[in-house]
Amino acid sequence: MLNYLLRRTLLMIPTLFGITLVVFAVMAASPGGLTVSTLVDGMNLDPEGRQALEDYYNRRYGLDQPAPVQYLRWLNNISPIGFERQADGTLGGFSLWKGVDLGTSFRYGRPVTALIAERLPITLLLNLLSIPLVYGAAIAIGVQAARSHGGRFDVASNLVLLALWSVPTMLAGVLFIGFFASEQYWRWFPTGGVGRREALDQTWLPWFAGFSDVLLLMAAVALVLGVLVWAAVRAPDAVRCPVFLLLGALLGYGMAADLQGLVPGILHVVLAVIGATLLAGIARLPGTALRLALVVPLAIGVGTGLARWAGAEFIQGGYLLDRVWHLVLPVIALSYGGLAFLAKLTRTSLLENLAADYARTARAKGVDEETVLWRHVFRNSLLPLITVSATLLPSLLAGSVIVESIFSINGMGKLAVEAVQMRDRELVLSITLVSGLLTLAGYLLADIAYAMADPRVSYE
C-alpha cells in the first residue's frame, strides 16, 4: 500500500507539471501575451511615464524575458529543489532545501501564498459542508427510488432529479438572491459574504435578551418540531396530508402577507397553493427518513419565526448563527446539482445489484427484502459512488467559481476569475497548481476509499 501511495504521489508530479504547462502556454501564446498593461491601464500617465512604469514592472516580474525562460524560472521557484533566488532576481547556488516560493501577485502586490492562505479555507469550508450533504441526501433519495422501482416515487423523483441537474447554478443563485435576499422580496438571508464584520466580535452562540426569551424560543421550536415530527413519523396518511396541506397554505399566505399585507390578492392565492402543493408532496413521500430530513429544518425555521413573531429577542445572533445564516443559500446552490447526479447514480447502481444473482440467491435463502437491501446490496452499490467522488470535488470547485461570484464570497473561485481577468501570471499559475493538487488528491483518496470498501481491490 505504501509503495502504491508513493508511486501515485510521484506520478502526480508530471501531471501537475503538464497542467501548469498547458495553462502557461495558453497565457503566453495569447494575443497580447503576458503583460502588465492591465496594471498600468487605469492610471492617468503621460506616455513616457507609462512606458517607464511598464518597464519597471516588466523587469520586476521578469516579463522582459522570453516565455520559456519565464516558465522555467517559475518552476525553479516553486520546486523545493533548485537554484536559490537572490534578492536582485539572479539565480544563486544549487540547494536541496530552498523552500517553495509561489511568487508575488501583480495585481495585489502581495505574496501569492498569503492570498491563497486567505481564500482557500473559505472555498474548502463551502465544499466540505456540501459534500456530506450531497452524499447523505443522494443516498437517501436513491435508496427510496430503487425500493419503489417503477412506482410513483421512482418516476417522479427521476424526473425531478433530472430537472434539478439541468438547472444552471447561476440561475439558482440569482433566483435565491433575488427572491430570498434582496430588498424587493423576502429578506431572509444576506445578499453576500460569509459573515458580517460585527459577528467576529460577538460571542460564539446567540445571546438572548433574557431567560424568558430562551424559553419562548425553545418552546416554540419544540412545539412545531413535536407536531411536525409526529405528523411525519407516526400519523396515518389521512391525518398527515391535511396537516401538511394546511401548514403549506398558511406559510404561503404568510409569505404573501409579508410582501403585500394581510388583504388577500392574487399573490396570496398563488403562494398558498404553491406552499400547499410542496408540503403535501413532502407528506406523501414514502420513507420516514426522507420526510424527517425535510421536516426537521422546516420545523426549526418555522419555530424560530414563530418565536420571533411572538416577541423573543436576540441581543446578538452570535458568530455561529451568523455563519450558518450566510452559508445557507451558497451551500444549497452548490450542492443541489451534485445531489441530483449522485441520487440518480445511487438508484441505478442499487437496481443493478438488486437484480444481480447474489441478491436472488439471498432471497431464495429466505432473507427478507430489507436485509437483502441493507446487508447484501447496499455496500456493493456504494462502489460507483466512491468512483465518482473523485470527479465530484473538481466539479464542486468549478461550481464554487460561480457561487462565489454570485454571492460575493471571497474564496478561491472569485480569486481565480479576478486573476485571469487581470492576467496575473503568478496568481493564475498558482491557482492552477493548487486546484490541480486538490483534484489529484481527490482522485487518490477515491482510489484508497475504493480499496477499503471493496476487499477484491488491492494495490499491492
Binding site: G18, L171, G178, S405, G436
Partner: protein
C-alpha cells in the same frame, strides 16, 4: 459481402435505437423543444426585427427585413432547408450528413461572397417615418425590435419590466441598454445552438482521434495519452475556459473552439475503452490481416461499433457546452455586444435591485434547453444500454 451485411445490420440497429428513443415521452418533449429552438433560431430575423417585413412608402413597396439580412442569416436559412431535405430524403445516414455539411459549406461560401447588406443600420428611421405619416402600408415582425435596437430615439429607455404600459410593448421587458429582452433571447438561440453543436463536434473529433489511437495501439501511446487526459481532467474545465477566454478574445468562433478543446477528455476515455474491447475481436483482426490501411480499420470498422456510448455522451455534452457558454457570459467573459442568455441573466441582479424578468425568461430558456438535451441523452442511454431491458423484465 461483410461490408454490406454490417451496413444493413447497423442501420436496423440504429433504427431500433431511434424507435426506442422516440417511445419515451421525455425524449419526445426534448426533441420538440430543440426543434422549436432550431425553427426560432433560423427564422429569428422574421420573428424579431425592427426592419419591417413589408412596407409601402410613397408608393414604393420594399422589404427592409429581406434587404438587411446578413450572410449568416442566409446560411441559417439554407442550412434549415437543406436539413429538412436531408431528413426527408432516403439514403445512408452518413451520406445525408455529409451532403448536408457540403451544402451548408457551399451556401456559406455563396452567401459571404454575394450578400452585402447595408453596413449602417438606422433602426429609428422606420419609427420616425411612421410618426411622420409617410408609411402607407406596413407589416411588422411579431416582435418589432431587433436584438441590438437599443431604442435610442425614445431617450428614456433602460430597465423596464414586461408590459410596462407605455406606448412600447415589450413582452419580456427590456435589458439595461434598453433592448427588447424577447428579441435578444430569440437571437441568442442561435448562439446556444451553434455553440452546443459545433463545440461538441470539435470535442468529439479530438476525443475520438486521441481515444481511438490510445485504444488501438495501447502501450506507450496509451500511457502518454492517459496522462494528457488526466491533465485536462485535473484542471477544472471552467477554470481552463476562463483562462482561455480571458487571454484569447471573445469571438463566438473562438468560444466554440475553446469549449471544444476543453471538453474532449471524456470522449477520449469512452472511445479508448471501447477500442480496447474491440481490437481483440475477430472482425478487427480480419481487417488487419487483410492489410487495410490504419484509418480504414479505425474509423470504418471499429468506430461504428463503438458509437453508442459516444452518442450518449455527446448529447449530454451539448447540454454542458450550452451551459459553459452561458456561464462564461454570466461571469462577464462572454460576447460583448451579441445577445446571449447568460449575459441577460447576469443583469438580473444589479447592485441594489432584482429584475425578475431578466432571471426568469433567459434563465428559463437555458434551463429548458439543457433539460431537453439531458432528457434526450437519458432516453438514448436507456435505448442503447442492454441492461435496461433486463432490468425492466426483472
Amino acid at each position: 459481402m461483410s461490408d454490406a451485411g454490417s451496413q444493413r445490420l447497423s442501420r436496423s440497429w440504429s433504427r431500433e435505437v431511434a424507435a426506442a428513443v422516440l417511445r419515451r415521452s421525455g425524449a419526445r418533449i426534448g426533441l420538440v423543444w430543440v426543434t422549436l429552438l432550431v425553427v426560432v433560431a433560423t427564422f429569428a430575423p422574421f420573428i424579431a426585427n425592427t426592419h419591417p417585413l413589408y412596407m409601402v412608402v410613397e408608393g414604393r413597396a420594399s422589404s427592409p427585413a429581406l434587404a438587411n439580412l446578413q450572410a449568416l442569416d442566409w446560411v441559417w436559412l439554407a442550412g434549415f432547408v437543406l436539413g429538412v431535405l436531408a431528413l426527408l430524403l432516403k439514403g445512408k445516414v452518413w451520406l445525408r450528413l455529409a451532403g448536408w455539411l457540403a451544402g451548408v459549406g457551399i451556401a456559406a461560401a455563396v452567401a459571404y461572397s454575394s450578400v452585402s447588406p447595408p453596413l449602417l443600420t438606422v433602426y429609428e428611421q422606420y419609427r420616425e417615418m411612421e410618426r411622420d405619416g409617410r408609411i402607407e402600408t406596413i407589416v411588422r415582425a411579431p416582435i418589432p425590435y431587433s436584438a441590438k435596437d437599443y431604442l435610442r430615439d425614445y431617450g428614456d429607455t433602460g430597465m423596464e419590466p414586461p408590459v410596462a404600459g407605455n406606448e412600447r410593448h415589450h413582452w419580456f421587458g427590456t435589458e439595461e441598454n434598453g433592448a427588447d429582452v424577447a428579441s435578444r433571447m430569440i437571437h441568442a438561440a442561435r448562439i446556444a445552438l451553434g455553440i452546443g453543436f459545433i463545440a461538441t463536434g470539435i470535442a468529439l473529433l479530438i476525443g475520438t482521434l486521441i481515444g481511438g489511437l490510445m485504444g488501438y495501439f495501447s502501450g506507450v501511446i496509451d500511457i502518454i495519452g492517459m496522462r494528457l487526459v488526466e491533465i485536462f481532467e485535473a484542471i477544472p474545465t471552467l477554470f481552463l475556459l476562463l483562462t482561455f477566454v480571458a487571454f484569447f478574445g471573445r469571438s463566438i468562433y473562438m468560444m466554440m473552439v475553446i469549449i471544444g478543446i476543453t471538453s474532449w477528455s471524456g470522449y477520449a476515455r469512452y472511445v479508448r475503452a471501447e477500442f480496447l474491447k474491440l481490437r481483440e475481436q475477430d472482425f478487427v483482426q480480419a481487417a488487419v490481416a487483410c492489410g487495410l490501411p490504419l484509418p480504414s480499420i479505425l474509423f470504418r470498422h471499429m468506430l461504428p461499433n463503438g458509437m453508442a456510448p459516444l452518442l450518449v455522451a455527446a448529447s449530454f455534452g451539448v447540454a454542458s457546452a450550452i451551459l459553459a457558454e452561458a456561464t462564461l457570459s454570466f461571469l462577464g467573459l462572454g460576447l460583448v455586444d451579441d445577445p446571449s442568455w447568460g449575459q441577460l441573466l447576469n443583469q438580473a441582479v444589479q447592485s441594489s435591485s432584482f429584475n425578475w424578468w431578466l432571471a426568469v425568461f433567459p434563465g428559463g430558456a437555458i434551463f429548458c434547453t439543457v433539460f431537453a438535451y439531458n432528457l434526450i441523452g437519458e432516453a438514448l442511454r436507456d435505448a442503447v444500454d442492454p441492461h435496461t431491458q433486463r432490468r425492466m423484465d426483472s
